[in-house]
Symmetry: C2
Subunit: 408 residues, 2 copies
């Protein structure tokens, strides 16, 4: 320990006591993953602190994954969060807590929860419109259903990986319209999708819908998410049953899950609807469920986009209500993502397909032009939300570096 | 026990020592689910037998789900199967084993494994052609990619349920082409999809493809599967990202998982390919991976179809190779299904959409006409495969009865 205590954060630290995201880490020289809470540039061993301070919730925190805490439900989430804030800020706990803080650069961060089902939505009107213009230049950019329901599909839960995991360029079939037959090889159009992921804590019962108003009883928190996409593989495979291998090779999530209770200042009204919604999706009278998140996308440290999450047409509450309206049940660990976040301006687009207009307009980066990702490129998504008293709440970053395709 | 031992099966019993499917059951008056093996009309408590007979594999069998056995890999599967066959057929074990056999009609059967990811394919040329003709009457029935790759998509693992679970008619949005806007309510076009599901045992490593030749090292066994489908919900939602709520309310699987080693006499060559396949899918020189399964579909006890699985264009081995060719990893408990099994003849079609040609030609059942399923209808899928010496191997049936939609 230096003379400067890790409990003394600079004013306005975006990982201060108003934030307190959860993760799972292993300290240097140990091999037992455990629940941690980020505080400044340190990680609190939350289970050890709970045991040391006699918390009634120690059993939820002395775990190798967040799932038991997530399953415990909102009253428990609020009680645990209040306890952790007290441990970190009450001078009376200082001596007990300080030894349980590990410098962030000395720990290994893990996938923080066991993913049950993964669903990806398509909720940005700007993204869906751009993609429609690129893929169907002679048709209406939005399909007729787009403004009536949040379009989504199931992705592969087993290949959700934590930030920092290398992403191997996928092999697969691709066929340009002019090619007589498909060819096989590494994807030549590997892309980012900058998204926000929502993590379900409390499960629901098969056959029962989760209404808009129950969103915060079920959703534990959120993460940043990069839904890596091989555009050439996707374009050839996706008719008629949707994306499959163009997406299933990897989906990266941040190591930190931000509790919804850390985002009280970030709730905002979603955009005005220009179609009447069916009652189960109609949020005109509901508590605003948009979120004012300011996202950034960087390639090799160079910012290429700043997508605003507040402009998303469909909210996460609507996505949850839609996903369960047919009676489908939720499990602890279900992950659902927003879809690519794109704003109305060119520099607010959340994927290279849009940023380079399908490769027509390459990006000029300090290390050369980019249409799609090259081997060795490192992509980093970051975001912040407004916090109390003018502060910011940082969301955990999600990074991934492209490794060359496997050959032979 | 009657004077007739449950170990003495009639000649040719389709659940004889050549079959030995695995399930999970709870005996009457007990509350601990455990691994069972079906033998005739009884279930062997496999973990208790393993313990009683000193099996080195008792830890794999004294479990509430099949996943530990499934994860153990093919040499263990073969050793365990050989042991169980010996326990059931060697007169020296009779006294120990007989008390561990429970009459099937006195036990509760459970979902036999924890489902990891669920993928549904679309592998019957007859089914895909019929569906294409119904939905796109003016276009080519098969999309250009269909004969180059086994089309598939991810479904919802959390709503896979065991045979016998009631299926609640889903609510959702549906919109006929002539309707000005979508309406909300119970699906009016609720359908069956008669399929075969393949259950992954041994996992694979992220980034590594599973070749055609490794199919039997990874796949533990198969089940019958009914991928219930709400055609009206599906038709409105599925462009451009594929089926979602039209499928995710329930997928029923049989309570019994048939080991691949029980199907030695059922392997058969798949249909001739009329397009050259890329090397990773080319099975011209491979061990035949088609399966001669004879399926039946019954509504309220009345057989409406007899789909032949041997005619499926894409084999399960090709599906597994395709699903992993982009580096996606397999987990123990991954379930992938064939897609609706339909043969070339009208009475071989595996769903009502085809059997009634989208409702145009109702079926005449003893209890009235059917276009799609009505509340109270019970659907049962059964199947058998050729076994040794002219015997049959029965696959476990999968049933489900339609319960009325939830209102209000």
């Amino acid at each position: 320990m230096s003379e400067h205590s890790p409990l003394d954060l600079a004013a306005g630290d975006p990982y201060g006591p108003h934030n307190l995201p959860y993760g799972v880490f292993t300290p240097t020289g140990d091999d037992r993953p455990r629940v941690g809470v980020r505080y400044g540039d340190h990680v609190l061993d939350a289970g050890a602190a709970a045991a040391a301070l006699g918390s009634p919730h120690a059993d939820l925190l002395r775990q190798p994954v967040l799932n038991p805490l997530m399953a415990a439900g909102r009253p428990a989430w609020q009680a645990v969060r209040a306890g952790i804030r007290e441990w970190l800020t009450d001078p009376g706990h200082r001596a007990a807590v300080e030894p349980l803080l590990h410098p962030l650069d000395g720990v290994t961060l893990h996938l923080p929860f066991e993913v049950a089902d993964y669903v990806d939505f398509y909720a940005s009107e700007h993204h869906a419109t751009n993609v429609g213009r690129i893929f169907r230049p002679d048709g209406e950019p939005l399909t007729p259903n787009w403004k009536h329901l949040p379009i989504g599909y199931h992705g592969r839960a087993g290949t959700v990986v934590v930030s920092g995991t290398p992403v191997v360029r996928p092999n697969g079939q691709r066929k340009a319209p002019a090619d007589p037959a498909p060819s096989f090889g590494p994807s030549l159009r590997l892309d980012i999708e900058a998204e926000v992921g929502f993590v379900v804590g409390a499960p629901s019962v098969l056959g029962e819908q989760v209404p808009l108003s129950a969103f915060r009883d079920h959703v534990f928190g959120l993460c940043l998410l990069n839904d890596w996409s091989a555009r050439d593989i996707q374009a050839w495979e996706y008719v008629p049953l949707g994306p499959f291998l163009g997406k299933s090779f990897a989906t990266s999530v941040s190591a930190w899950i931000t509790p919804l209770d850390a985002l009280e200042q970030a709730w905002t009204a979603p955009p005005a609807r220009d179609r009447a919604l069916l009652p189960y999706l109609d949020d005109a009278e509901a508590v605003p469920a948009g979120l004012d998140l300011h996202m950034s996308v960087a390639i090799n440290g160079h910012t290429v986009s700043n997508p605003p999450f507040s402009g998303m047409y469909w909210t996460a509450a609507q996505q949850l209500a839609h996903m369960t309206v047919n009676g489908a049940s939720l499990r602890t660990g279900d992950l659902f993502a927003s879809g690519t976040v794109s704003g109305p301006e060119p520099e607010q687009r959340g994927c290279l397909l849009e940023l380079t207009w399908s490769g027509r307009d390459p990006l000029e980066l300090p290390d050369g032009k980019r249409t799609f990702l090259e081997d060795g490129d490192e992509v980093t998504l970051t975001a912040w939300a407004p916090g109390p008293d003018g502060s910011r709440v940082a969301l955990g970053e999600v990074t991934g570096r492209i490794a060359p395709a496997v050959t032979g």
